[in-house]
């Protein structure tokens, strides 16, 4: 079938025949207990190539790059660097051989300057002054502007990523690994990053680019290797594939499409936020500044924005984990609730799904029935005169399991034993089964497999159709475009006026995410930049 076509594809083997790849893995296997995180993976990385590594969460992408970067030792198989077998003792050996890596989660010290952070990541053979000069030179050459004297906590996420990239480039790597670099960037920042990557490629370097954003991969990458369940599924030219065909290879089947019910009616305002301002509770936190919006029943409002712009603080203020002095700043079902605890807000009909599944949304080492009780004790008939109705908590588990297809090994396992997607389905299900009037949900499908993500998005749409007001915070613009009626953007603790989803183009949202306003003059300026 299609396999033949791919085997003949010039970019994978034909073009490079006779040369040695920069990096090659043969039968690379990593075993954790009985679990094969990587199962005999063969991958070739050539110079002057941007190679995408695609796969769902848990497909083995991180394990593979950690092995290549020397962070973990493979259980079996070989890594060849320029044709020679190598056993990397650790990341410093990988770096000295010319392999660099930019992690998704930055390792930066907030209270140190840019230059100090870079110095800490280098071998320290040159003086701080020479290093600073080189830092400025590298950042200028590649169009990655950085002020070496600024302290990291003052910088945006995009700027922090630049530090990581510059730090990696200062070691002049021939091979650079980037782990989901655009997850934290605005569309415009992502475009700028792509220019840098193209340039690195033109210089003859190889890049391994981990992502699950398929359009991006089609645009940027020359080759794509798809992993699924720890195995390599395919190596192909992403430009010859469609986003749908790539997704099929990642998931191993069709993904259910999420459908909104036609003619959804909006009703009365069920969640109103009036001029909410709140000082941060911790150092370097974000101050919420005059946030106002109104959310009607039957409506889904999306909140976009780069992480760390006040989304966590807004969630805490809306849920009641942090209280506001002025009761009128948050109105739930027509009642001033700013001063009410999370339990009292739940009694008013609000429900909440936080971003962190383990440790915030659930107690990891407690059973699902106990985790049903965690948020259900207030208003779900699970407690009578202070005594727990165990049958009622188990019933919630069973109903969530059935309604949202939660897969688990036994009836009532510990939360931590479920996969991310199944646990998220349980958490969302637990809240939706309470028939909330208002649902506030943060990053509903973060790190969740495509099948579970579709189930969750459909559940949110159905809840809105049933008349609830739903507030979704997400960094995934595609997700918001799929389910939200209106989208607002958070930046530095401010919330923009919501745009109707139809009008919220990537460009407009990107500008708002970068802190520009949509007034004509400034918008024109930003687009020109």
């Amino acid at each position: 079938m299609q396999v033949h076509q791919r085997m003949l594809d010039p970019t994978t083997n034909g073009l490079h025949s006779g040369e040695t790849p920069l990096l090659r893995t043969i039968g690379l296997t990593k075993r954790y207990g009985d679990f094969l995180a990587n199962d005999s993976i063969d991958i070739d990385i050539w110079p002057k190539e941007i190679h995408a590594l695609l796969g769902e969460n848990g497909a083995g992408k991180s394990t593979l790059v950690k092995a290549i970067y020397g962070l973990i030792q493979p259980s079996a198989g070989e890594i060849l660097w320029k044709g020679q077998p190598v056993a990397l003792s650790g990341p410093s050996e990988a770096r000295s051989r010319g392999i660099g890596m930019v992690f998704q989660h930055f390792s930066l010290f907030d209270n140190l300057t840019v230059a100090e952070n870079v110095a800490l990541g280098l071998d320290g053979r040159e003086s701080f002054k020479d290093m600073s000069a080189r830092l400025e030179q590298v950042s200028k050459t590649y169009g990655l502007p950085l002020d070496p004297k600024r302290e990291v906590w003052q910088l945006s996420v995009g700027e922090r990523q630049r530090i990581e990239i510059v730090r990696a480039l200062m070691q002049d790597p021939q091979f650079l690994i980037l782990d989901e670099p655009t997850a934290v960037l605005t569309p415009q920042e992502a475009d700028q990053l792509f220019i840098v990557l193209e340039r690195l490629k033109a210089e003859g370097r190889a890049i391994l680019y981990i992502s699950h954003k398929l359009e991006e991969v089609k645009r940027l990458c020359d080759t794509a290797t798809i992993l699924r369940g720890g195995k390599k599924v395919e190596t192909c030219n992403p430009r010859l594939e469609t986003a749908a065909s790539l997704a099929r290879m990642m998931v191993g089947g069709e993904i259910k499409e999420v459908k909104a019910a036609a003619g959804r009616q909006t009703t009365v305002p069920r969640l109103v936020v009036n001029d909410l301002s709140l000082a941060p509770s911790e150092a370097h936190g974000v101050r919420l500044e005059h946030i106002s919006f109104e959310l009607k029943g039957g409506e889904i409002l999306g909140i976009a924005g780069v992480a760390g712009n006040g989304q966590d603080e807004l969630f805490a203020a809306l849920s009641g984990e942090r209280l506001s002095k002025d009761p009128g700043t948050i109105v739930i079902e027509g009642l001033a609730a700013g001063h009410l605890s999370i339990t009292q807000r739940r009694k008013l009909g609000a429900a909440f799904v936080p971003e962190e599944r383990l440790g915030h949304g659930t107690a990891p080492r407690m059973k699902l029935s106990e985790n049903a009780l965690l948020t259900g004790h207030a208003a779900s008939g699970m407690v009578h005169h202070g005594f727990i109705d165990t049958a009622a908590t188990l019933k919630t588990v069973d109903r969530a399991t059935e309604t949202f297809d939660v897969r688990k090994a036994k009836r009532d396992p510990e939360a931590a034993s479920l996969s991310g997607g199944n646990l998220q389905k349980f958490i969302v299900g637990r809240e939706i089964l309470r028939n909330p009037a208002v649902l506030v949900v943060s990053q509903p499908t973060w790190g969740v497999d495509a099948g579970a993500a579709a189930v969750i998005r459909q559940a949110l749409l159905d809840l809105a159709t049933a008349g609830a007001a739903v507030l979704v915070t997400s960094q995934d613009l595609d997700e918001l475009a799929e389910i939200a009626d209106r989208i607002a953007v958070m930046f530095h603790g401010h919330l923009s006026a919501p745009l109707a989803t139809k009008e919220a183009t990537r460009e407009k949202l990107g500008l708002l995410m970068g802190g520009s306003s949509l007034e004509p003059k400034e918008a024109a300026h930003a687009v020109g930049a």
Partner: protein, 363 residues
């Protein structure tokens, strides 16, 4: 080949049950070595420690008497530890409870006060223990002071306060200058269960406490709150539970139980207030709490076991001249192994064989 600790997907309930037994086994092996180094016959020593006390009725009663304060204190401590509140000062709360209850006994001495004396002593001791425990709890909640340090330091305050009372204002004028109060009146004494025996009403109270806390933890929302706050603080806050309130509550309850244990010990087996009423019950109860897996039934069993070591230690001292301090060494080693074995609940040992290199051409 190499031995590694590997994380389990889910906590092992089997290991959770047998880990205290493994710990006891390892402790006994260590003790055998220790006895051998001391030049004593290990088998005879073990017999004196663990078998001899179980063979006569008097010792059996004595084990229950010793277990009573241990279990009561450990039950209270388990609530604190489940809620991530580290009360190390139960010894002090025990002594303050003993002092507060004794105040009634001393003041009514020789009067015709009626049957109300003992109940008032018990209540007052519990209240005093709770208030004394609230000092570190409030310092923790209001000022962020480490409750581990403050509760521990207050032990010495209580100890010296008791010492002052029995050497000064409360000293028995007919007591040949010994630092002790007069023997309590019968109305101020905890009644015996068996005439002429040692077993007293306090053991029944301890059993009631075990049952009540078992219900609290297993069946009520308050018990759930205590467990969640300790196991996942952020999830607990998301659940609407206030950890500061629970620190106050668990400290107060554990202080009350320790205070109650204190007065029961003084008004029961001891019969008067004097220094040294506790051979370190408040500290040994920490071991009991962990050995019993912070579970009420487990604590009951662990309390009886630790009481056995106290009695066995005395017998070993008499029969084999093994120093009484060896009992404390034993208890310390036991706590060490209990905590070490706990890691097996979440982890397991695994033998890992060296990498098999795949022999393939390099192309």
């Amino acid at each position: 080949m190499q031995l590694v600790l590997e994380k389990r997907a889910e906590r092992s309930n089997t290991i959770a049950l047998i880990s205290p037994l493994i710990a006891i086994g390892l402790t006994i092996v260590t003790m055998v070595i220790l006895f051998a180094i001391l030049g004593k016959n290990p088998l005879l020593a073990l017999h004196a420690y663990f078998i001899a006390p179980l063979t006569d009725g008097y010792s059996l009663q004595e084990i229950a008497v010793k277990a009573t304060p241990l279990v009561m204190i450990a039950i209270g401590l388990s609530l604190c530890y489940l809620a991530n509140a580290w009360n190390i000062g139960a010894e002090g709360q025990f002594l303050i409870g003993a002092v507060a209850g004794s105040w009634v006994a001393v003041k009514t001495q020789g009067t015709d006060a009626g049957a109300w004396v003992l109940p008032v002593m018990l209540v007052l001791a519990a209240v005093a223990g709770a208030l004394y425990a609230l000092i570190p709890a409030i310092c923790k909640v209001k000022f962020g002071a480490s409750e581990i340090l403050t509760s521990l330091m207050l032990v010495y305050v209580a100890d010296l306060f008791l010492d002052y009372l029995v050497r000064g204002p409360w000293r028995d004028p007919h007591g040949f200058n010994f630092p002790t109060t007069a023997e309590f009146d019968p109305v101020a004494t905890v009644p015996l269960l068996i005439e002429g025996g040692r077993l007293h009403l306090g053991s029944i109270i301890a059993l009631l406490v075990v049952a009540a806390v078992a219900i609290l933890l297993g069946r009520t929302i308050k018990g759930f709150e205590i467990r969640v706050v300790g196991a996942a603080p952020r999830a607990a806050r998301f659940g609407g539970f206030n950890s500061n309130q629970l620190i106050i509550l668990t400290f107060a309850v554990s202080g009350a139980l320790a205070g109650l244990a204190g007065i029961i010990e003084v008004a029961g087996p001891v019969g008067h207030l004097q220094p040294g009423i506790s051979p370190g019950y408040g500290f040994t109860a920490i071991i009991v709490a962990f050995l019993g897996r912070l579970n009420p039934l487990g604590i009951l069993i662990a309390g009886l076991f630790l009481a056995l070591t106290f009695i066995g230690g005395e017998q070993a001292q008499i029969a084999m001249k093994i120093p009484l301090d060896v009992t404390k060494v034993f208890q310390g080693i036991l706590l060490f192994y209990v905590l070490a074995c706990d890691s097996l609940i979440l982890y397991r040992f695994k033998l890992v064989f060296p990498n098999r290199q795949v022999a393939r051409g390099t192309g």
